[in-house]
């Protein structure tokens, strides 16, 4: 593949907090249209890495580009080119679905016509027209997550970051959510998703596994399984994470 095909390039990206190194020289690329899984135990540095890529946190050293923009120097341009859905984020609870869509559409600079058309299209796709004028507070969590994801795509960003999007969601909704992710990726949008559900890792085109701030494994799920001779990503994850844990407890 050529470099024109790369939407995220990270080289030696590092972030320290005082004497603690949260992210330690990570290097990886993400291709256009890929579903890239970012795995790691809690505290492994996933969220710190993502916060650097989306411009919420300045890197200590190393550099990275997202959609062709340097994250350190052009973080505001990065922001126009990405969508983001955090683990905490659901939409504003006291606004209706439509109002939330209008707010974010407006912030990303869509015209009134674009906002109206894309909102309708989104509602149709999700089969959610009936509740378009309900306050988000009254909508069940699973639906909220799907709506939040769709709203973050309203401005058609080339890349979207999902930080543990399926936390606290039932298995059926989780399945539906992944269908939504696939649909999005098929439309050409790159999806970078963090998760600690290992079955979800199997759905990704490629995964990276972070342990103690470093990327210990990177590749397609089948490549990784055969390389390490394990039956599932979960086994691999446990194998990689364990030495670090026992080292930490010494």
């Amino acid at each position: 593949m050529t470099s024109g095909d790369l939407i995220i390039e990270a080289k030696d990206l590092t972030r320290t907090f005082g004497s603690f190194t949260a992210v330690d020289h990570i290097t990886f690329d993400v291709h256009r249209g890929e579903v890239f899984g970012f795995l790691g135990a809690n505290g492994a540095g996933k969220t710190t890495a993502i916060r650097m890529l989306i411009g919420l946190l300045a890197p200590t050293s190393g550099h990275a580009t997202v959609a062709g923009f340097d994250i350190a120097r052009e973080s505001e341009k990065v922001k126009q080119a990405i969508g983001y859905m955090s683990q905490k984020f659901s939409l504003y609870e006291d606004l209706t679905v439509r109002e939330n869509a209008a707010l974010y559409g407006g912030i990303y600079g869509l015209t009134d016509v674009q906002i109206r058309e894309r909102t309708e299209e989104m509602l149709q796709r999700l089969k959610f027209e009936h509740a378009a004028n309900e306050r988000v507070r009254a909508i069940p969590l699973g639906w909220r997550q799907k709506l939040a994801f769709s709203v973050s795509l309203l401005h058609r960003p080339p890349v979207v970051f999902l930080d543990e999007p399926t936390g606290g969601v039932d298995p059926i909704t989780r399945r539906q959510f992944w269908e939504l992710i696939y649909e999005t990726a098929q439309g050409g949008t790159t999806v970078l998703v963090t998760t600690h559900y290992m079955d979800e890792a199997e759905y990704c085109d490629r995964v990276s596994i972070m342990v103690s701030g470093r990327i210990d494994a990177l590749g397609t799920p089948s490549e990784l399984k055969s390389e390490y001779g394990v039956g599932s990503i979960e086994d691999l994850f446990v194998r990689l994470a364990r030495p670090a844990e026992s080292a930490g407890s010494k």
Binding site: L56, S86, L95, A102, G106, G109
Partner: protein, 384 residues
């Protein structure tokens, strides 16, 4: 501009849909004006008074009547016992004890000079001083009144002695007095403009501080931070609705002040709203600054309340700036509330124009520029 508009529209919806916020905005002005203006008064009325009358003459009774009729005092009991009076004073039933000594009338007629003992419970501070001056004033008036009645008899008394005859005319210097701007000495006319200032300050600062801290807590702030919205746009979108709200509250407060207390509006309302527009920027920027320093709504409210109470107490709203210790007077120049209290009173009560309020208005404008810049600079989309 479009981004600001969308954010501001969402902000208006947040405010309108939250019952607590709406209650804060609509009920607080009315509550504050009605309660605060009625309660916050240093005019002393109905001071409970005990009279120890050892003279028991027409003059002493007249004196008691004058005190009671003044409206400032309420004569709780009259007796001849000083011990009982002392007991009531310790008990807190009375605030003032007047002892009219034996021979009071006789001395007054003979020597034109009659001493009288006034004991005040100074436990209540400022009130004691005021009560004392009221009493002195009533006594002086009573003496003049008696003087007019006694003049003839006095002349005879004087004739018999070797004293020179009194000069004609009671007063050598005729003093006329006039209280400008508030001739009826209506305390409410003084308090309402100040309370209006307290009102817009609290609404603006508290809402601004709370609002952003709330989004921090909910996590929606992070979502906004990954959008391409700039911090100036973000702050404008957040603050403009609150700014309008402050002006609406001022209007509401003025209407209540006019209807319930018939406060004077002598100067230009346009000027008042213009000054308020500048002042609100300061109040909002302070709220914003607070929100950048805290993590939770609880902290935001707590810090805001702390800062507000100091600001309001040092603003000249309740007690005159001129009475404060010298260094506090100088320090209070840094208090934006002080300047707006001055402006509001000067425009509403004194009818001052732009030239008269130029100095505090310029100071406020400088504050607006400085606080807003600091708040914008301190607000970061990225964490360190």
């Amino acid at each position: 501009m479009r981004r600001i508009f969308f954010l501001a529209r969402a902000e208006v919806l947040h405010i309108v849909r939250d019952k607590t916020t709406m209650a804060q905005i609509l009920v607080m002005p009315i509550f504050q004006l009605l309660v605060l203006v009625n309660a916050a008064t240093f005019v002393v009325r109905n001071t409970p008074m005990y009279v120890v009358d050892q003279d028991r003459t027409a003059t002493s009774r007249g004196l008691i009547n004058r005190m009671a009729a003044s409206g400032h005092f309420e004569v709780v009991a009259v007796s001849g016992s000083a011990e009982k009076a002392n007991d009531e004073l310790l008990d807190g039933t009375v605030t003032m004890v007047i002892t009219i000594p034996h021979d009071f009338e006789k001395q007054f007629v003979r020597q034109r000079y009659a001493p009288l003992q006034v004991i005040l419970n100074a436990e209540k501070g400022s009130a004691a001083g005021i009560v004392q001056s009221y009493a002195a004033r009533i006594l002086a008036d009573y003496a003049t009144e008696l003087g007019a009645e006694l003049q003839p008899s006095m002349r005879t008394v004087s004739w018999n002695r070797t004293d020179p005859p009194p000069r004609r005319g009671a007063a050598l210097v005729e003093t006329r007095t006039r209280g400008w701007y508030n001739a009826q000495l209506n305390y409410k006319h003084y308090m309402v403009p100040g309370v209006l200032v307290a009102l817009v300050t609290m609404i603006a600062t508290l809402l601004a501080a709370q609002n952003i801290a709330r989004e921090k807590e909910l996590g929606t702030l992070e979502q906004l931070n990954v959008t391409p919205i700039t911090r100036t746009q973000f702050i404008a979108g957040k603050l403009i609705p609150l700014w309008f709200l402050g002006l609406i509250d001022l209007t509401l407060g003025l209407a209540v002040g006019k209807l319930a207390f018939d406060i004077p509006i002598r100067g230009s309302l346009l000027l008042l709203f213009g000054a308020a527009a500048i002042y609100l920027v300061v109040a909002l920027a302070i709220g914003l600054l607070i929100s950048t320093m805290v993590e939770t709504q609880q902290q935001a409210m707590f810090v805001t309340f702390f800062i507000m109470s100091a600001y309001l107490l040092l603003s000249g709203l309740f007690t005159p700036i001129d009475s404060m210790a010298h260094w506090v007077q100088i320090a209070s120049l840094l208090n934006p509330v002080r300047h707006f209290v001055t402006i509001a009173r000067e425009i509403l009560v004194k009818g001052a124009g732009l030239t008269e309020i130029a100095a505090p208005l310029l100071t406020l404008s400088a504050f607006a520029v400085v606080t807003l810049s600091v708040a914008v600079l301190r607000y970061h989309k990225t964490t360190a």
